[in-house]
Every structure is written in structure tokens, then in C-alpha cells.
């Protein structure tokens, strides 16, 4: 068998909190986020033998997680399209008043960003990845990283400004 040592549990365990954090910035709720992490770990443990050094491991795990998220999302979107073919009109009703209220108050500006922008901000600002690493994780060219980063930061600023600047803007993620 090839020389690369199999992925050991301790190495992996150290990275789990960061994977959960990244997942929660993407998924709708903590349970869905942990499901993403679980799927990622399963992938890592079935395919991780081919991974080399620990430095490359983290970005690779992030990329696995992100791809999983995007795939799930696409599947859900496809399903929604199919379901809409059978749906009655009330499936398209406008959001309920309390949902609107929610979006303005408890939901943070960050969580209202598109998922691809959230992912990039997490990688760059929170995980401290370089632009090239972030590009690899998200599977996009570096030029796209820069333009997306610019859009994300401007959108975040704009939303902050429209909120009460004194109020805490971001919901604490627990």
C-alpha cells in the first residue's frame, strides 16, 4: 500500500470545531450544519488516505464540506422546482408578518448574505485563509474571490447601515 499514513482520529478531532463553525455559517440550523460536518468526516475517512500533510488537510476538508453543501442545495432546489409543479398557489404566498419582523431584527445582516458570500467571508475573515486557498476551497478563480469579497463586504456594510448602528447586528452563533 502507498506510504501516506491514514488519517488519525486526533488530527481530525482538532479540526471538527472549525468545520462545525464553517458549516453553521452555511446551513439553516445547527442540526443541518452538523449533518454537513458528518458527511464531510465520512468522506474524509473513506477518501482521506490519499491526503498528505496536515496543512493541506484543513482547506481540503473545508472544500469537501462546501461541495457537500452546494450539492445538497442544488438537490433541494431541484426538488423545490419539481414540488412547485404540484403545489397550489398558497405555496407562493408572501412571507408572514412575523417572518419579516424576524429578518429585520434577530436575523443578522451576515445570515442574510447569499451563501457563497457567507462562505467566503468565513474563510477569509474568520478562518484566516489566504485568497488563493479560499479560491481552491470554493472552486472559483482568484479574480472571483476578490470581486465576491468586495460585494460581500459592501452588502454587509449596507445592511449594517440600514439597521440601527447601535444594535448588535450579528446574531451570536452558538
Amino acid at each position: 500500500m502507498p506510504a501516506s499514513p491514514p488519517l488519525d482520529d486526533d488530527t481530525l478531532r482538532v479540526l471538527i470545531p472549525r468545520l462545525r463553525r464553517f458549516a453553521r455559517s452555511l446551513a439553516t440550523d445547527p442540526a443541518a450544519a452538523d449533518d454537513l460536518v458528518q458527511a464531510t468526516l465520512e468522506r474524509a475517512l473513506t477518501r482521506g488516505d490519499t491526503r498528505r500533510d496536515e496543512a493541506a488537510l484543513q482547506p481540503w476538508l473545508f472544500s469537501v464540506l462546501y461541495r457537500q453543501f452546494v450539492d445538497d442545495h442544488r438537490r433541494a432546489a431541484r426538488w423545490k422546482r419539481i414540488a412547485s409543479l404540484f403545489a397550489t398557489e398558497d405555496a407562493h404566498r408572501p412571507p408572514m408578518p412575523d417572518q419579516v419582523f424576524d429578518a429585520r431584527t434577530s436575523l443578522s445582516a451576515f445570515t442574510r448574505l447569499p451563501a457563497d458570500q457567507r462562505a467566503l467571508l468565513m474563510l477569509v475573515s474568520v478562518e484566516g485563509l489566504g485568497y488563493r486557498e479560499a479560491a481552491e476551497v470554493l472552486g472559483i478563480p482568484i479574480g472571483t474571490v476578490m470581486s465576491r469579497l468586495s460585494r460581500a463586504r459592501q452588502a454587509l456594510r449596507a445592511m449594517d447601515d440600514e439597521n440601527d448602528p447601535a444594535a448588535p447586528v450579528l446574531r451570536a452563533l452558538r
Partner: protein, 252 residues
Amino acid sequence: MNIDALHPSPDDSELHAYVDGRLPPARRAQVEAWLTAHPAHAVQVEGWKQDAERLRTLHAHPEHWSSNAALEPAQVRRRLGARRRARLGIAAAMLLAFGVGGGVGWQARDMRPGQAALPMADAVAAYRQYVDADAPPMEFDASRADDLQRWLHRHFGEAGRVPDLRAAGYRLMGGRLLSTEQGAAAMLVYQDGSGARVGFYLRPRGQLRGQGQRRDGDLLARYWSVRDTSFALVSNAADAAASGLPRLLDNG
């Protein structure tokens, strides 16, 4: 002195690189100086910095979140292993179904999860269902003993013979074919002069190791295996006459 004349103005990307601390030190100083000279941009960049800082604060210390046991690597490995074995089990079942199971099928079958916890529990269950006097008629009654013998032989080879228990006073009432997790099985029903019944059960060997006996409610099951076949003799626990039967069933 106009600072723009000395150094090129930073573009959008450079401003973000500045926020993220990704500029080389020399260029960083230049951008800093440029921002001092351009307060509107400085405000914008400061906002980005604050947002990033806030993001970091809010996402700090994920290691303090309540842990999720399902994410423990050992647990993930176990689940993967169980899933792999389940797949193997399905593959084995398919191999068996197509009659080409051979060695691979039998080996894989032993690894399937969720085997009955008690040895030969299926034999006892089959007894309860089919051996009671009021059980529905059996597909092989005593008049078709030869057919039953043929069927057993086809499925169990040498081990598949209809035991002759007449020496102990039991005569064959009939047989019933069953399907179990391990494959086709048969329950043969015998009865003695007093009307006491015993069930002789055979099926492909599963995880059963060795031999033994156990009480299950009012029933007594004695079980053993010979090569690839497991046997059980199930009788009423109070039936003393039945205790001598295993000697007659010696399949060795």
C-alpha cells in the same frame, strides 16, 4: 506634497488585502498613508475591518460548543464500517439468491449486523408458530415425507435428512419450509403417543457457535451445528421424554 503622485492609488482588491493583513509591509504603509489622505475611503475600510472583527468575535471558540457524539471520528468510523458490512450483507444475500453464494456469501453473511441476540431464537419462534396442535396444516404432511426429504437434501446436502425418531416413540407429522435471515429453513414436527410434540429445526449456520441449550419461556431449545448447518430441537421444557432425542439426531 501629493501622496497620489508618489504611489499608485490602491484598487479595491488592495483595500481588501489591507483589511485582511495580506499586503507586503511596504505596500501596507503606502496604503495606510493613502487612506489618511482619503477619509471617505478610510471610513469604508474601517467599516470592513469592524465587520470582520465582529464576525470573528461572534464565531469565536467553536470548541466550546456542546459536543455532538455523532461527529466523534471513532463513531464515524463505526458507522462507515456498519454501512459497509450492511452493503456486503446485501451483496451476500443477492449472491445467495442467485445461487452462486459459495464461500464469499457465507463469510459476508456472518458479518451482517443485527443478528438475533439469542442463539436459534428463530427456531423457538418457528416452534411457537407452527408446532402447536392448532397450527395451520403443513405443506409437507407425513404422506409426503419423500418430497420433504428431497427438498431438505437439495438445500442442506448431507445434513438435510429427515431424522427417524421412531425408536424414541416419535413419528413425523410433517414439515414446513421457512425463510430466515440466514436462508431457507425447515421445521419438522414430530409427535409421540401421548400427543407431545417436538420441533426439529434446521437452517444455514449463522453466527451460532458451538452447542448448548436454553430455556425460552415454557420451551426448551437444544441447538448445535454441523459444518454449515445449524440444528435445534425445540420441545416443551417439561417434556422429559424429549430430552433423550438429541442422541438420535446425531448428525455427525
